[in-house]
């Protein structure tokens, strides 16, 4: 095997640099600014060297840059491994390889690294735009690769390279689809995700202090999507239960380590059946309508009816759920539990405590007291706002008696403190409220901006009962969503604001597309694969079955591809006279009497006649007719037919 030879031209260097720049581009915003600057400088340097035909820099300089950049990456990330640091290093190495690219072999290495860099982009984003952009990158890289292997003259024009690369890629799609659908899938991770792979994922946390949720509501990231199998409940029932917070230290509410429990409840209506597709958030909780009545696979239920996955949700997860909207549960809570739901830190919020004691004296029943507090929120000058003023040390006192404007976390926090001070067990429940129905695709989108906090109080005759103090201040928040509740608040993400019907329509169409993409492309998990095969009539497919199936299907695809590519290899001979002559010569050739390239028909006939006297007559007849037809002016069709027949019947 001959090794790759030759040198790289300016064009090669240029297109390769462009390919690497395209692939590395999206990483520019993810790596530290000085690294982006360094890499951009190196790109410019490489292009300058190629343009002026200066020699490439000495290896020692490159090693110095590698060491410097690695040191910088280590200082910035505190490690050289993991997702972010790894990507930063890979980008640096790739750029330096450009400066060391001398032979086609270097270029090939660079191309493989570029393909690898494409995949690192997917660690950060797997949306449709990313996919399209990266497809363009792959196309470009493949075109560069073709350029390297076209060694004649100055190589090919880039359009021609791009066309060939496009043809290759399009022809590869069927086999790619077969592999995607049928390749035996293994549920990752194989060796554990690096800890930083979920960095930056927005979502609820297991603590709540003033400002937590209002900052979350600035994000239009999607938390999860829901498809209802039974009719969709009205908006005021769409309480998606998340972390339940018990412990209050005067400022922050925290979720305790809860014990595992069974599903014990009383239901009062028909269940709601739906499927949730939750976006990865790196935490364990799963979301369900209150009150969850079933457990998805690999999940647990805590004593306070929180649904937890057995491992952090690090990739998009789909699960079927059943919930009851009218229910009763927890009426037989233990004394210890109730005591926990009454605990308040001493010395904090003296005025709120005094107010609670006062209310207790005025109202005989717990229900009346609750009603009084809600009336207070509703009647007095309390404001529901996304941009609440800052609060001091006694946060609840400040809120109740001074600022009087806040977001749901302020109301639920204040409500719980008042209840506990009045001797009613209470806790804070966080989660999401509402969601937007996408009529295109018929599913509900719940965004981070829908994050909400409400309360549960314990009544001896009813168990845990949901009370939403925000509803008392801003009923629109419950009925019509966050966009209606804080209308005109420019702080809300553009998509969440009311009005702009055209924009809304566009956004819903786009999300519908994204949802299908998530369900069918990104959410193609081992379970989905199994379900699909079951639907196709293949039950309990083992990897062996899959491998056999894959082999069969890909063989068929490759065969079709072979036929397709070889189709253009058929030689086009339209002249029937010539065709007959070629067939005739071919028969003789098979008998070892090949016509020389320079041999005319008459000389050939003579030679054949000498070698095979038995054939002399038939050969002479045929050749005579052939010469007549070919060189004798007109060729009447009956004589052509005769020539064809002679060629057909000739059997040396």
């Amino acid at each position: 095997m001959t090794a790759l030879r030759g040198t790289l031209s300016l064009r090669h260097a240029f297109w390769l640099t462009a390919s690497v720049a395209l692939v590395a581009g999206p990483h520019a915003a993810r790596v530290p600014w000085w690294l982006t600057f360094l890499v951009a400088t190196l790109f410019a340097w490489r292009l300058y060297l190629a343009r002026t035909r200066h020699p490439l820099p000495h290896r020692a300089i490159l090693i110095l840059i590698v060491l410097g950049a690695s040191g910088g990456v280590y200082l910035h990330y505190g490690t050289l491994f993991g997702r972010d640091a790894g990507v930063a290093l890979l980008v640096v190495m790739l750029t330096l390889k450009l400066l060391e690219m001398r032979t086609p072999r270097d270029a090939m290495l660079l191309i493989f690294l570029s393909y690898f860099l494409v995949i690192t982009n997917f660690l950060y984003s797997q949306t449709i735009p990313t996919a399209l952009y990266m497809l363009a990158c792959v196309w470009f890289i493949t075109a560069s690769m073709i350029g390297i292997h076209h060694l004649q003259g100055q190589g090919r024009a880039i359009e021609q390279q791009l066309r060939t690369a496009g043809v290759l890629l399009v022809q590869s799609v069927p086999l790619m689809l077969a592999l995607f659908v049928l390749f035996p899938r293994v549920q990752g991770p194989l060796w554990g995700m690096p800890a930083d792979s979920q960095r930056g994922a927005t979502g609820l946390s297991d603590t709540m202090s003033p400002g937590t949720l209002s900052s979350l509501s600035l994000s239009d990231d999607i938390a999860f999507r829901v498809t209802f199998k039974s009719p969709m409940p009205p908006p005021k029932f769409l309480y998606w239960r998340g972390p339940v917070l018990w412990d209050y230290d005067g400022r922050t509410w925290r979720a305790p380590r809860s014990s595992i429990s069974k599903l014990i409840y009383e239901a009062h209506n028909n269940p709601v059946v739906y499927t949730v597709t939750v976006e990865p958030h790196g935490k364990a909780w799963l979301f369900a309508l209150e009150l969850p009545a079933s457990l998805p696979a690999q999940s647990l239920l805590t004593a306070d009816f929180q649904l937890l996955s057995t491992r952090p949700v690090s990739s998009r997860l789909r699960y079927e759920m059943t919930s009851f909207l009218e229910y009763k549960y927890g009426s037989s809570e233990s004394a210890a539990t109730l005591e926990r739901a009454l605990a308040l830190p001493p010395q904090f919020n003296p005025r709120a405590t005094a107010l609670a004691k006062d209310l207790r004296r005025k109202h005989a029943t717990d229900r009346a007291l609750v009603q009084a507090v809600l009336t207070m929120f509703n009647q007095e000058n309390f404001v529901y706002t996304l941009e609440p003023p800052l609060l001091g040390g006694d946060a609840v006192d400040d809120f109740l008696f001074k600022t009087r404007s806040g977001f749901c976390e302020h109301y639920s926090s204040a409500f719980a403190v008042l209840m506990r001070a009045a001797g009613i067990p209470a806790r804070v429940v966080t989660g999401y409220l509402g969601g937007e129905l996408n009529p295109i695709g018929d599913y509900v989108i719940v965004r981070q901006a829908d994050a909400h906090a409400w309360n549960e109080i314990w009544l001896s005759d009813a168990g845990w009962v949901r009370v939403d103090p925000t509803a008392a201040v801003s009923p629109a928040r419950i009925e019509r969503g966050i966009g209606a509740a804080v209308a005109g608040a420019t702080a809300l993400p553009l998509f969440m604001q009311g009005g702009l019907p055209f924009l809304r329509e566009l956004r819903l169409s786009w999300d519908s597309l994204a949802n299908s993409w998530n369900q069918w492309v990104l959410g193609y998990t081992p379970e989905r694969q199994r379900a699909l095969l079951t639907r196709a009539g293949i039950e309990d497919a083992t990897w062996r079955t899959l491998a056999a199936l894959l082999l069969g299907v890909s063989s068929v695809i490759v065969l079709v591809l072979v036929l397709f590519t070889v189709r253009r290899l058929r030689v086009r001979v339209r002249d029937p006279v010539r065709l007959a002559y070629l067939a005739f010569c071919n028969k003789l050739r098979q008998r070892g009497l090949m016509r020389d390239a320079a041999e005319g028909p008459l000389a050939y006939a003579e030679r054949v006649g000498r070698a095979r006297p038995d054939l002399a007559r038939s050969v002479r007849d045929f050749i005579g007719l052939y010469v007549d037809l070919r060189y004798g002016g007109d060729a009447p069709s009956e004589r052509v037919m005769r020539l064809k027949r002679l060629a057909r019947e000739f059997s040396p």
Binding site: M1, T2, A3, R5, P104, M108, L109, F112, Y115, F116, I119, F122, L123, Q126, A131, M134, V138, M145, I146, I148, H149, H150, L151, Q152, G153, R156, T164, L168, L169, S172, P174, L175, M176, L179, F180, F183, R185, Q187, G188, P189, M193, S197, S314, V521, L522, Y524, T525, V558, L561, V562, T565, V566, R568, L569, R570, V571, R572, M594, D596, A597
Partner: protein, 313 residues
Amino acid sequence: MQALRNIREWLFQLRGPEHGEIVLVQRRIFILPSRAGVFFGVVLLLMLTGSINYTLSLGFILTFLLASLGITAMLHTFRNLVGLRITAGRAAPVFAGETARFTVYLHNPTRAARYSIGLTRRGGEVEFVDVPAERSALAGAAVPAVRRGLLSPGRLTLYTRFPLGLFYGWSYVEFDTHCLVYPRPAAPGLPLPPVKASGGEGASRGEGREDFSGLRQYHPGDSPRHIAWKAAARGEVLLTKQFSGQARAELWLTHTLLPDHLGLEDKLSCLTRWVLDAHAAGLAYGLELPGAIVSVGSGEAHRDRCLEKLAMA
């Protein structure tokens, strides 16, 4: 070992020199992943592992797309060779010690253009050509000519890595053509033998003095009166004027003129040098070799005939 060789011959269809046109049918084309192709496979495995670990659906798609691209590229590499019709072209004669260039015509009767096809003789220089659809192209293979005589090109390799370089497709072609290799000429400066008159008339021995017939290189012993002084004054090499007498002078290059202690090959080298010098000087000369005689003549065809005799002696 013999069995191994038989297997090899069967596998690669090595059937010795062939005559006429070789059609690259499927059975004649071999294809293997190149080193880059193997490396590509390793990169794909890495990408697959990464995709599984991070549950990257788009990672899977990319990996599978690239794997399919590899398969497609293999088909295209194969297609780049299949159906070509190869015929041997002429190989211009060379002197021993030089490099012969065997030309090969690649005819592409199909409607698919072929790109970047290399022709080489094991380890030698490679020449790449493109063969457009329904056209022909000429490729050459350099073969060092070590000894005089007939040089056969041996087994030539026709190969391609197009389009992606992941696969190496090749075919062996061995033609029964030859290239004539003349003996290596002796170092320049060897004086030509004296001229003898034709027809046995001793009267006008040496060059005649009547009619100027041309110039030849100066040899020590030439009369100073015959030196072309004008040319010498212009800084050119010393030339001697020649005149054809009534009796045409004949220069016979005979192997017996050379000392006996020289071997045959050395004698042929010297004779080759004489032939070249005599031709350059525009002389008429004849060649006499053991078993072969070329009568007196001049011109390129005559020189080539003499050189051929020398090559085949």
